[in-house]
Amino acid sequence: MSVRTFQRGAFLPHYKEFTESEPVSTLSLPPEVVIPLQQHIGAPSKALVAAGDKVKVGQKIGESSAFVSVPVHSSVNGTVIAVEPRPTFTGASVESVVIAVDPEQEEPQWPEQDHTALTKEEIKEAIKEAGIVGMGGAAFPTHVKLSPPKPIDTIVINACECEPFLTCDHRLMLERTFDLVEGATLIARVVGAENIVFGVEINKPDAIEALQKRIAGEKNISVVGLAVKYPQGSEKQLIKATLDREVPPGKLPLEVGVVVQNVATAVAVFEACRFKKPLIERVLTYSGDAAANPGNLKVRLGTPIKHVLKERGGIKGAPPPTDEDVPMPPHLVGKVIMGGPMTGWAQSHLDAPVVKGTSGILLFSPAMVVKTAHSDCVRCGKCVDHCPMFLYPNYIGLYAERGSYERAADWGALDCFECGICVYVCPANRPIVQFVRETKREIAAARAKAK
């Protein structure tokens, strides 16, 4: 198999050895779940329940009439304790439904139906009703992505998992190969795409083999081996690598006739169509050098990360967690991240719940935590060498630092998708991604003001 890739980018240490051979295991139910009404990009859902209501697994508890939005479902049986703002993984508080879990009540059996008999519209409706969003991290509503205004000829399944540490998609590819391909086929039917391409980084040879075995004889489905290079899993870079098509700046993949979906999303689509099962749980990677017992876990949405830590033995070398608390000695754990190590969010506490876009929970020892202050740009050009969007991160940082946001935009700040590779390679440790976010915010504010 020829190995393809995109231009620039960088080779990162993988750190996948912690969990890549760990089969997915199901995490126990927490005593309480916190389900944010907005776990997606778009309009927030409105609560359909109030404190005191009994809810069941899969019951819709939040909904919006806006098109760019998805409903939210209860992931447990139990009683609503409150509907109130609760902190999420970004640190911002979001209106959430807090449910006390009733572990005694029986879990539902999902009735099977023939998913191949569904029409395009039925599939799309099922996807929307199930509340499915992009599960790679962006959390964009899938049914919106599957309503492109232009013809689509190819579905690219993003099976790169290019972020270090994360292995949940890898495990899904191995353990749910059939469901994954069925899900991809359903997605292709919705948009009328003829071809399906799986883009897999070649550090997952077993996944490539499993997929090839599954699609043997299928003419329109192919597997492409991709170089293990970050950010291979970014949509534009993935399309370039698999199909050699370039999405113009500021445009979406549909511009070149492509829709990209992540592995977990495709599996969720299959479950929504086959079992009418809403998105109430997801597989995530629990890892990091400070995790006592790393693994790939199937976790109910709304589970606070503290419960995950508690169930998995907490911090390596620290006293085991008790019912009350998870000991977090500062000499053993320095950082808790939700998501991948390149684009994830550092946590200040353990209360944030697992949401639809949570691909990982990572525990870093203090040795892994970057503590050096940043210095002035020395123009080494490493960021320019590695930027997968061919931007000028050095100039973006310099101009944003002194408040010249328009000039930062001139050098490409608005085209940046914040992969973080510039910061990774920067010998001066400059927080360029932070400068980019600042520029985007300031430019948006200035443009809104001008209107």
Binding site: Q7, A10, P13, G91, P164, K236, K240, E246, P248, P249, K251, D325, M328, P330, V333, G334, K335, G339, P341, M342, T343, G344, A346, Q347, S348, H349, L362, F364, M368, V369, V370, K371, S375, D376, C377, V378, R379, C380, G381, V384, D385, M389, F390, L391, Y392, N394, Y395, D415, E418, G420, I421, V423, Y424, V425, P427, A428, N429, V433, Q434, R437
Partner: protein, 342 residues
């Protein structure tokens, strides 16, 4: 529970860093300069040791002093002052008076770097700026070299000190006095850093291997000089005499191509920019050597091109990912002006 919450580090993504930082890169530059430094010490003994020690110490002290005066944090740990100090020493001829070295370090670190805002903000290569400053001020202290004389009895006599530089010999048509192989391996004459072309190639190769510099700058400078040296005059005669290789091995060309023009701060930010930068330096070097008065012009050439770096950056601004329209790229036949950024 509250007390443990504050102990987690919260910082924006990404949460991983490459192990490389400015101090480690600067240390690699010092390592890359080690072969030529050893060659110069072998050649000039205590004269070289003295020059290098004074220059590095002065550079470090001026950095400390200037940052103290400007109430900025000390940055000695980034090792950039030591690199500047060593490079300055390597640009000087043995027997350069100690106070001239200190004056050079003052201009290099104090004026060219710290007064410009510190590492990263300097427009001109500090070591070359220091070198050119003392060169231009030389007429002021002709005759005062006697200050250095008392020290000589301690260092002992050295023939190498009074030898004509290879470049001067070339200019006088006397290049046959010095064989090409000696010039390549180890030969006296000129500055400390001009003693061995081989040592400079080894150092340059190390920097390339460590990916601190790109091939574009040294290759375009050396390539341009080589081509011009061949075609300036009768090409056949030039090749037969080996003069083009003299131009590369002699003088400060290799030191400039591998260690000065590649300086992160004062060179263009893209590969394409570096090619333009390097070719321009090569042309200027040959103009200085062939058409203008002084025998050596590498330092001036690089400093002149340092001033053009912002302009080069703007003119070579590459298209963003997906910005080159597919249609245009498809219509244009291979090998035309459609830039294919790699």
């Amino acid at each position: 529970m509250a007390e443990q919450e504050v102990l987690l580090t919260v910082s924006p993504s990404p949460h991983l860093r490459s192990p490389e930082n400015i101090p480690s890169a600067m240390r690699d530059v010092l390592i890359a300069l080690l072969p030529v430094t050893l060659c110069s010490i072998y050649m000039y003994r205590w004269y070289a040791v003295f020059l290098i020690a004074v220059s590095m110490a002065a550079a470090a002290l001026f950095e400390l002093l200037f940052r103290k005066i400007m109430k900025k944090q000390a940055t000695l740990h980034d090792c950039s002052a030591l690199v500047t100090g060593l490079l300055l020493a390597l640009c000087l001829r043995p027997g350069t008076p100690w106070w001239s070295v200190i004056l050079g370090a003052f201009f290099a670190v104090g004026i060219a770097k710290e007064l410009m805002g510190g590492l990263g903000w300097n427009r001109f290569n500090p070591a070359l700026f220091g070198l050119v400053a003392v060169t231009l001020l030389a007429p002021l202290y002709v005759g005062t070299t006697a200050t250095f004389a008392p020290l000589r009895q301690f260092f002992g006599p050295l023939d190498a000190l009074t030898q004509a530089t290879p470049l001067a010999l070339i200019k006088q048509g006397l290049y046959e006095q010095i064989s090409l192989s000696r010039l390549f391996l180890l030969s006296p004459g000129g500055a400390l850093g001009e003693t061995s072309a081989l040592a400079l190639f080894i150092g340059g190769a190390y920097l390339l291997y460590k990916k601190h510099i790109r091939w574009q700058t040294p290759v375009s400078i050396i390539g341009t000089v080589l081509i011009l040296a061949i075609f300036w005059g009768n090409p056949l005669e030039n090749i037969a005499s080996g003069i083009p290789l003299y131009h590369i091995f002699a003088g400060g060309l290799l030191l400039g191509a591998f260690f000065m023009a590649t300086d992160w701060v004062t060179s263009p930010i893209t590969e394409k920019g570096e090619l333009i930068f390097g070719i321009a330096i090569g042309i200027l070097v040959m103009l200085f050597r062939k058409a203008l008065g002084p025998t050596e012009g590498v330092a001036f050439s690089i400093l002149i091109m340092n001033a053009f770096v912002p302009l080069i950056d703007r003119l070579t601004k590459r298209p963003k990912f997906g910005e080159v329209p597919a249609k245009k790229a498809a219509v244009a036949p291979a090998g035309t002006a459609v830039s294919k950024s790699n």
